[in-house]
Symmetry: C2
Subunit: 323 residues, 2 copies
């Protein structure tokens, strides 16, 4: 391992998503020294997407004033699924990359540097644990509630990867156990994601009479209307909060968690989501050790993806198990 | 740490439960060299219970031909809850011990030896991972389905303890998410344990017309009658299998498990339980990585509790985090 306590070198961090590409240089203390971002281009092929990413991070390295060889390594968060730890990615939100050898390409481009690629939700959890709302805790679930419901698990002080790097998929705990729970993108039914992801919230609320004709209605508008007392919008937020509460109660019991952090667009709704969530925990998290659970908003903003990607390199003892 | 690969020394293992006390000497390969068991005496005070346990393990050590000082240490599984890792125990099924300093007393009795106490369900999971059906896997949930539904988690090759030593409580994942799920001993509703524990199975089946007047009806009789086609008994087993399947689907998704082992009296029902469980997984465990999950019967029999207690000492690198 190249990084370590007292090592002055910084890491290149990348965040590859369906709407934006971001690159940054992060110092060993987790501070973002310099960064850049660009919308993910549409209608391009796999190599063009790679070139866009390459140009972005090349400019960021230049801006940082560091030589490539001075970097401690490259950490990259990317949408799943992926073959982990090989870093062959097939992001659902970037269909142009199908089985794209991202880790291999980064290694070729920046020879001699360790390169580590992990799920973007895992990187967000690592960031919140390293430098955010989970700092100092040993047992944490870091969640993202936006177009999907994902997460990453830190247990006994370390990021858990699981058999295939997929630990943390809180969104597929079943929270509607009736036979007619809503269909989920995973092929199952009644998953937390099928209820609490932004588009599902909107769809359900529209079926209840909220802005029924508006094709481009968003979860943000839904939260705004709920804040103004619209009954169907309020009911949708309540239903999502309950779904998340049930999933979190299960996770807290199974994993003996201290804290759950929740970020992502839907979580911006604040008490509209967190209140029914807390109410559900009061009913369903009743063991002594689950009653102590804290559920808090994520503390890091837009930089979280880059900070977490850097953690794969700069705090590898906690956030990277494979190589 | 005293134990280690190639260390010829054996550990004293203890299994303290509401119906029996067991002690054994386990060699570094996980083999039970000698052991003894006695029914847990009823109507005695805390010190008398301690004396019974002391007499039991003293005789076992003598029988083994080892000097006390030759032992690698003492591992002990005990019913929860407990203050962990301090080993102050308040077993629900042994009310005479309330906040009993079991680890401290064992340390006083066998000075110079490392002493480690953990939840009995955790010890069973450690045993199945070390020497049983989970051998060679890095991500496993070891479950027990009997008068309770408990378990232990092994992730990334190590036993997970969680914030207070309570990781593995699979029995309190909510699997009836309606507002009128059955009340659970934890104070919550709709937990897997509230449906699949033996007494709950029996109670539900009796309410459906199975052996309605028989006060001492058992889960074993229920399984036997289900095997003979009794509709209410079959329905009870199906309901329990579905409850376990829902909990396991959630755990597999959250923790990216390779294998789940299931032991305990209720699991002896075999396909009556495992078939509806598997059917539920086919509906609810649909992600690529959860479809690969294997659910298998526990491989170790009555010795599992002792083997797992010994693992806290003899394979401490994997099964003991605190000290």
């Amino acid at each position: 391992m190249i990084s370590g306590v007292g090592d002055p070198r910084s890491a290149l961090a990348l965040d590859v998503g369906g709407t934006k590409l971001a690159a940054g240089v992060v110092d060993p203390g987790g501070r973002l020294l310099t960064w850049a971002r660009t919308p993910t281009p549409a209608g391009i092929d796999a190599e063009q997407l790679w070139s866009t990413l390459d140009a972005l991070f090349t400019s960021v390295i230049e801006k940082s004033g560091l030589e490539e060889a001075e970097l401690a390594g490259v950490g990259c968060g990317c949408g799943g699924p992926m073959e982990w730890p090989a870093g062959r990615v097939s992001p659902l939100n970037l269909p142009t990359w199908l089985d794209f050898p991202l880790r291999e390409r980064l290694t070729e481009r920046l020879p001699g540097l360790p390169v580590r690629v992990h799920n973007d939700a895992i990187c967000l959890a690592a960031a919140e644990h390293w430098r955010g709302a989970g700092r100092g805790r040993s047992n944490m679930l870091g969640m993202v509630v936006s177009t999907g419901v994902g997460g990453g698990l830190i247990l006994d002080g370390k990021l858990v990867s699981g058999a295939s790097g997929n630990a943390g998929h809180i969104g597929h705990i079943v929270v509607d156990t009736t036979d007619d729970g809503p269909a989920c993108g995973c092929g199952g039914r009644g998953c937390a994601e099928a209820i609490a992801r932004g588009p599902a919230l909107v769809q359900w609320a529209q079926a209840q009479g909220w802005r029924p004709g508006q094709a481009d209605a968003t979860a943000k508008e839904l939260a705004d209307d709920a804040a103004h007392g619209h009954p169907a919008a309020l009911a949708a937020m309540h239903r999502a909060g309950r779904a998340l509460g049930l999933a979190i109660a299960g996770a807290a019991s199974l994993c003996d968690l201290e804290v759950v952090t929740i970020g992502g667009g839907v979580s911006q709704a604040g008490p509209l989501l967190f209140d029914p969530l807390a109410e559900t925990l009061r009913v369903h998290a009743r063991l002594d050790f689950t009653r102590r659970l804290q559920v808090v908003p994520a503390a890091l903003g837009q930089s979280a993806g880059l900070v977490g990607a850097a953690a794969l390199i700069l705090a590898a003892d906690r956030y990277w198990i494979a190589d």
